[in-house]
Symmetry: C2
Subunit: 423 residues, 2 copies
């Protein structure tokens, strides 16, 4: 009994059968005594098909018009889902992002939600109807133009709407049945997590875990809204993303490491022979930031006393590699570095766990297991609850498996460990 | 130089090539110094495809949700058209019916326009942009739900918008190049009309001419807005639909008959042996009207003195035939008629022309030419500027040709005629 926001992705509503299956699940939730608000993505490949159409007309679609075009996708899926629910004898009303009060910035294609004013949704559910809301879209709060939210947008819509409605939970339905201790395709013994904290989920998402998008988790943390990640193909419990692990899990039983993420999408740039003077690094990174390129890890070596020169390495998305090297080449004369190296054969491996705070031995255990597996560490970066390393991309999956075992995360072993194990 | 509203149908924008061709025409109009507002229908078969999707989900789609679904069609075409225009270097902004201020009644699937408040359109064109507006759609002015206007809806959107913007002309682009004196597929010598009055166009549309929908012409007449019907495949002048024929056309030159329409979509019901008492006919037609069935022509014979019984015949759309006979059978006992005859092998032939008012001989000429062609007249109905007859459907096209010649409308003869010809 409560107010539940459910989000279904495009693969869950890819065709009429999928729509009917999802409708049945929504009706079951309603019949259990809940008020239900549903956020839905465009069906299957609709978005790609619409982009193809745009490309037939122009090589560079205008941002405002591309958003107008793409939002037709959710309009179709939400209306069909409402019809499928009506067909089961329950009232459903669909609403566009605009009608649902999703107010955003003006950045077409990657707008951010500023506020949600869901008065029409509240009215619909208070009248006993199921509300279906288009994910991924909103309106520019100044111009009233239609906007889209970019990657992960439908998840973010769902969480933002749930927060505005003060829902009890936001259920995110995907094609996996929860968040795992590692990617099950790499580590077959990976375990589904019962709970993961917002902090851990943020670090996992930022480190390459695909199941939830960073922005959606940020929103949930800000409003302390529980997310339940689960499969639309089963009725099993999935993974709860919450503020803290349940109190029943004592420190003794609390896993130090919640999960292991890996990421093959980054490349490494090394600037060789940089003059070790105040302001030089700032000049380099400001130039890159001005091009709206996000860099991830940075390492600067101690400069050689004899030359006063140092090397600076950083990682960034491969998709920004060409532009970044072009930018750096343009400022080579001014900055005075010797040469550039570009390496796209790297992998990033990250351990994430709130338990790291109270368990100082994690780094030692991690590096020891990588060493035993014969894996060379090229870069290191840490946060309070995460350790990330860069290695050769061909060593990456071996490293994930080794770490998964070293921290006793494998399903066949004990799932919980280790206070004071000293690792 | 002026403000021009253009409307393009689905066949004009069926694919990327069509969109580009239409975009080029719009840009040419803009370059000629005009402000341009464009109303566009959904691409080609999009609407039918969306209806197919709905039918896969439910046999009886909810009206509100079906409108939400179908309006995705114009959303796609208008955004793509705006992109195609941008690609030619001109700014274009697309607007939904709601954004364009098209306020309607609540009747989903057949809403009527109540008012148009196009402030966003005015703003866009005053800023030098071309405005693209979704045809066929609006919002319920009370609930703010999305509505569609039903058949002919995009033409009506264009005319209503043109009236609200006080445009100089509304150009309706179709796949024919104007309004003809008869259907050119039936009468190869039919001529394209330079002008036709609102009254004539209303009668032609009501009598089976398909080129413009009745509601759109009614709207134009109410606001005295010139419509220019023309082809999107050529630059030729089409037909102007205006209040009066140009003054330069003196009475001497004014054609009595503007055009000849025919219609094979009706059937005739005859109620045999109806008691000729006050109230009986009213009872019959009220029952039919209560079922929301529109009847067209009605004929009641003089009752036979011996029996006090009469026959009543009327015509109606074939699609309402089954329901109507079922309704009449239910009230047979109460009304006390003898039997029903249902005849769907009829055709309706209509002469339309404002000149009929001042030329009393039209009926005689018309009936004489049908008689010469061996065509039997079964029913007759007239208005101030129209004569319609019912004949056998197999005689219909022969009758259209005969009348077209009798009134000297054939292209090889003189195109203009006849004051005082006495016919």
């Amino acid at each position: 009994m409560g107010l539940i926001v459910q989000k279904y992705g495009g693969s869950s509503v890819a065709d009429a059968e999928g729509l009917k299956r999802v409708a049945a699940r929504i009706v079951a939730t309603k019949k259990a005594g809940n008020q239900v608000v549903v956020v839905v993505s465009a069906m299957g490949d609709t978005t790609d098909e619409l982009i193809d159409l745009a490309n037939q007309v122009t090589p560079l679609p205008n941002g405002r018009e591309l958003d107008m075009l793409l939002t037709a996708g959710e309009r179709i899926s939400m209306a069909l889902l409402a019809m499928a629910i009506s067909n089961l004898g329950h009232e459903a009303r669909s609403f566009t992002g605009s009608q649902a009060g999703v107010l955003t910035t003006s950045a077409h294609g990657k707008a951010r939600i500023i506020d949600v004013k869901p008065s029409r949704i509240s009215e619909a559910i208070s009248e006993g109807a199921i509300a279906i809301v288009a994910g991924f879209q909103g309106i520019n709060q100044d111009t009233k133009d239609v906007t889209t939210l970019g990657r992960g947008g439908s998840d973010t819509t769902a969480v933002a709407l749930a927060a505005a409605l003060e829902a009890d939970v936001c259920e995110i339905y995907t094609d996996v049945d929860g968040v795992y201790s590692a990617d099950p395709r790499v580590v077959p013994s990976a375990q589904k997590l019962k709970t993961v904290t917002y902090e851990e989920m943020l670090e996992l998402a930022a480190s390459g875990a695909k199941v939830l998008h960073l922005r959606c988790v940020e929103y949930a943390r800000r409003y302390d809204l529980p997310i339940h990640v689960r499969s639309s193909f089963s009725n099993q419990e999935g993974t709860w993303v919450v503020k803290d692990h349940p109190e029943g899990d004592s420190d003794m039983e609390q896993a130090i490491i919640a999960g292991i993420a890996h990421d093959k999408s980054e490349a490494k740039v090394t600037i060789v022979g940089v003059p070790d003077r105040t302001g030089v690094a700032a000049r380099i990174f400001q130039t890159i930031a001005d091009a709206d390129i996000n860099i991830d890890m940075i390492v600067q070596n101690v400069s050689a006393a004899a030359t006063g020169l140092t090397d600076i390495s950083f990682t960034l998305p491969k998709s920004d590699g060409a532009e970044t090297t072009a930018i750096l080449n343009r400022i080579q004369g001014e900055v005075g570095f010797a040469s550039l190296q570009y390496d796209d054969q790297i992998g990033k491996l990250s351990l994430v766990g709130a338990g790291m705070r109270s368990h100082p031995g994690v780094t030692a255990t991690f590096f020891a297991c990588l060493s035993e597996a014969g894996i060379n560490i090229e870069m290191i970066s840490t946060s309070e609850i995460r350790i990330s390393i860069i290695c050769r991309v061909e060593d990456l999956e071996k490293g994930v498996k080794a770490a998964h075992s070293a921290f006793d995360l494998d399903a066949e072993g004990e799932a919980v460990v280790y206070a004071g194990s000293g690792r």
